[in-house]
């Protein structure tokens, strides 16, 4: 129970002043009418103050406490004292990172009301706080009120949105033939259909495609994609300078959504995925597989807050022991304000990693802040960025320059190409 604050209102002052003025006028004019008016005002004043609502409990019920970005959550607030004669003003504090989709988190409950509902739109990932509830108790005539914070805050966990991926190929240098699913874009013993070919005597019967055979009048068999598993590392740039544009949509959020989506695809195919997030510190998750790894990645991404200015070079130097040899590495970064990028990528490629850089262009997001007007500084930064991308390609990295107008699915398709 928070500290209680008491306040009067201008209306209360009005009543008191009218009562006093009427009393003085009654004395001056010897008027019973004014005396009655004075007494009436005073009586109303006192009566209203005596009908304060009692202290009450407000409980919050959330439809779900874990959702993905873009989902909606219904929140219900219930008041324990349903027979109050005064008025209750309830404001359920909601994290500023959440949007109200329907209803309002502020309600004025008339005498006897039980509660109210509202719906939240979870637009951005994070651990968002809902509550505590701010309660303002009014007397029936809204003359006097008391304020207090009550109830415990609830937490709404919003995971980054996972976009559906498309089957594709990761060109791997170091394949590991374990049960799993890193498709190699070649015929093998996988589960995913690849093509149809003519039957040979060594083919098992269960691979015959009977429909195609009937249609073409010759025996045809299905071929399946070869599958492999591998360790894939994601290196995510979560520096403060990468959060340019709007809080809702910026390079960091794009990278996080991309990472969540692609890691989900890879884990679904039994690969092992690791994650390094750098910003104010370097957080490393060693490559792991399965739903546990998926949850761990989602929580790491959800908990990530753009901050700090640790460079890519420093974070790679720190996390080199955790990088599986020759594993493909995805660097997710806006590539801005970091002079170590070129050398860091060179270092990774030199160690045998296949480096794919997915880079949402930070200056394009910043240009959006200036209503997409082309300003001189933008041109300079654009030249520098183009130079950097050319340089990175020149040292052997695959660079995907992600225009903000393209969505995550586009970026994933670019990866699979």
């Amino acid at each position: 129970m928070g500290k209680e604050m008491k306040h009067f209102t201008l209306r209360a002052m009005g009543y008191a002043s009218v009562s006093a003025a009427a009393f003085v006028t009654a004395l001056v004019l010897s008027s019973e009418l004014f005396l009655a008016a004075s007494l009436m005002s005073a009586a109303l004043f006192i009566l209203s103050l005596s009908l304060y609502p009692r202290r009450c409990e407000v409980t919050r019920e959330m439809e779900k406490d874990t959702v993905f970005e873009g989902e909606k959550v219904r929140v219900s607030l219930n008041v324990s004292d349903q027979r109050h004669l005064g008025n209750l003003e309830i404001f359920d504090r909601v994290s500023p990172m959440l949007e109200l989709a329907e209803g309002s988190n502020l309600a004025s409950l008339s005498p006897g009301s039980r509660g109210f509902d509202y719906t939240i739109n979870a637009s951005i990932r994070g651990y968002h706080r809902i509550g505590p509830t701010f309660l303002r108790r009014w007397d029936p005539l809204f003359l006097w009120f008391k304020e207090e914070e009550i109830g415990n805050p609830s937490q709404l966990t919003v995971f980054p949105r996972i976009s559906p991926g498309r089957a594709g190929e990761l060109i791997l240098k170091d394949r590991k033939y374990r049960p799993g699913d890193m498709r190699l874009k070649r015929v093998g013993l996988g589960k995913e259909f690849h093509s149809i070919r003519d039957y040979t005597t060594t083919d098992p019967f269960n691979t015959i495609n009977w429909k195609a055979t009937a249609r073409t009048r010759k025996l045809l068999v299905n071929q399946f994609e070869a599958e492999s598993v591998t360790d894939v590392m994601f290196i995510l740039d979560s520096r403060l300078v990468s959060r340019v544009g709007t809080i809702r949509d910026n390079p960091v959020e794009r990278c996080i959504r991309f990472c969540a989506s692609l890691s989900n695809e890879l884990l679904n195919r039994s690969n092992r995925v690791g994650l390094i997030i750098y910003g104010s510190s370097v957080n490393v998750m060693k490559p792991a597989a399965g739903s546990g790894a998926h949850d761990q990645i989602l929580h790491m991404l959800t908990n990530s807050t753009p901050a700090g200015q640790i460079t890519l070079g420093a974070s790679i130097t720190y996390s080199l022991p955790y990088l599986p040899p020759n594993s493909p590495i995805f660097i997710l970064s806006a590539l801005n304000e970091d002079p170590t990028i070129r050398d860091a990528v060179k270092q990774l490629i030199g160690r045998g990693h296949k480096v794919t850089i997915v880079s949402p262009s930070g200056i394009e997001f910043e240009k959006g802040v200036y209503d997409n007007k082309v300003i001189p500084k933008y041109v300079l930064k654009r030249i520098e960025r183009d130079n950097l991308l050319l340089d990175l390609r020149a040292v052997g990295a695959r660079v995907i320059d992600w225009d903000p107008s393209k969505d995550v699915i586009w970026a994933m398709e670019e990866v699979w190409k």
Binding site: H7, F8, T9, L10, M13, S17, A20, A21, V24, L27, V28, L29, S30, F91, V94, P96, M97, L98, E99, L100, N105, L106, S123, I124, F134, R136, F145, E147, V241, S242, R243, V244, G245, T246, I247, R248, N250, N336, E337, G362, I363, E366, K367, V369, Y370, I375, P376, K377, Y378, V379, L380, K381, R382, I383, E384, D386, N387, L390, D391, A394
Partner: protein, 408 residues
């Protein structure tokens, strides 16, 4: 600056108003000197209850005003109302005089009897003056203090007996009672007519004991004020002597020919018993709320208090959800224009672009001569900028040229 709390201001305001009320009470209570002589509520020898009772018997609506004549402002029918002020024991305040004058101008009637000079505040507004000093005349009864005067008016023809009367001087109006030619006023109070030796204005002559300010008030329907130089005429101990009662009643009937309300101003008297304390308290409260000056002070304080409270009053904030998702941030484009220092960065970026376009290492590129670089660049404008740091036209043109540049 630290703001003073509303409660502090309210406390001080109420404290000041309370002190104001108390000081008013003290002033009113202590300003009375004698006991309640000539009060209509006093039944003793010096009271005026017999006169009041007689008027009641005659059908007048008799009231007693305990607080202040300022309340005459609210009198609804002043043309049929008579205020009687007998021997005021205090002077009227400015606001009370204003109220009495207003009452008269609205057609009200006033009867004032005084021999102390307290009534001069009102009388002077009607160009009448109570002259200080006892009047002596030849028609006294048993003692020179008790003097009989003949009254020959339409409403009364007879004799009245006065006890140690004063006298009146006036410059407008009409005398109702006059002395004989041998009357004189003892100005120095020594009981001796010493006008011959000291020439102090005690010369014998006609003196006036009753004056009416508006003799034709019945015709014009205007107000009227009668001043009598001896209030003892109305005392219980004197009213029954000679023709005093008839004179008094006739005068009232003359002033109120259609009957009406008679108000005895007992606010100028001091009640001797416990009820006097209540009366004085009420008078103080009424005084505080009716006196013009106090009204102004009280009103100003009330307004100040309200203004202070309104200034201090902070309406309860309407809580609202503040969504920050659309807040924007920039890093590299904080300053949208190119500054002087950015030109060096631009030069480096252009050189990098040329180097990368030709797939050269930094070392190889650094080893190039200016002529070789000029060949690689191809554009004279860009080359000039790279070599001398100068460019023609604006920086925007240079940027466009750089953006459009491609290797040969």
């Amino acid at each position: 600056m630290r703001r003073i709390g509303a409660s502090t201001i309210w406390k001080w305001t109420f404290l000041l108003m309370f002190l104001l009320l108390i000081s008013t009470e003290i002033y009113v209570v202590t300003s009375m000197e004698d006991e309640g002589e000539l009060s209509s509520l006093e039944n003793g020898w010096a009271g005026a209850s017999a006169f009041s009772d007689e008027l009641s018997r005659r059908g007048f609506d008799v009231r007693s005003l305990l607080t202040t004549p300022s309340l005459l402002h609210e009198e609804e029918d002043p043309g049929n109302t008579l205020l009687i002020s007998l021997g005021p024991q205090r002077e009227y305040s400015l606001s009370e005089l204003h109220a009495l004058r207003k009452f008269h101008s609205r057609g009200g009637r006033i009867l004032m009897a005084d021999d102390s000079g307290n009534g001069n505040g009102l009388a002077s507004r009607f160009e009448v003056n109570f002259v200080r000093g006892q009047l002596y005349d030849q028609n006294f009864v048993s003692s020179p203090d008790l003097v009989k005067f003949d009254v020959n008016q339409d409403f009364f023809d007879g004799t009245v007996l006065m006890n140690r009367p004063a006298s009146l001087s006036f410059s407008s109006g009409q005398a109702l009672i006059a002395s004989t030619t041998s009357a004189w006023v003892d100005r120095n109070g020594n009981g001796i007519n010493d006008n011959i030796s000291t020439n102090q204005g005690e010369a014998p002559g006609i003196r006036y004991l009753a004056v009416i300010s508006d003799p034709d008030f019945t015709e014009h329907g205007s107000g009227a004020a009668v001043f009598i130089a001896d209030p003892s005429l109305f005392m219980n101990g004197m009213i029954e002597l000679e023709g005093n009662m008839e004179f008094a009643v006739s005068l009232v009937e003359h002033l109120l020919p259609r009957g009406g309300k008679v108000i005895f101003d007992d606010s100028v008297h001091r009640s001797p018993d416990a009820s006097g304390i209540v009366q004085r308290s009420l008078r103080g409260l009424a005084f505080a709320t009716t006196d013009v000056n106090l009204k102004i002070v009280s009103g100003a304080m009330a307004v100040l208090a309200l203004l202070s409270a309104a200034y201090l009053y902070e309406p309860p904030g309407k809580p609202g959800h503040d969504c920050i998702l659309n807040r924007t941030g920039v890093a590299e484009l904080v300053e949208p224009e190119l500054l002087e220092g950015d030109l060096a960065e631009l030069r480096k970026a252009v050189l990098d672009r040329i180097r990368v376009s030709y797939g050269m290492s930094v070392d190889d590129f650094s080893a190039l001569s200016w002529n070789e670089l000029e060949e690689l660049v191809g554009s004279p404008g860009i080359y000039r900028f790279l070599r001398k740091g100068k460019y023609r036209g604006g920086v925007e043109e240079l940027l466009l040229e750089v953006m459009a540049w491609e290797r040969k």
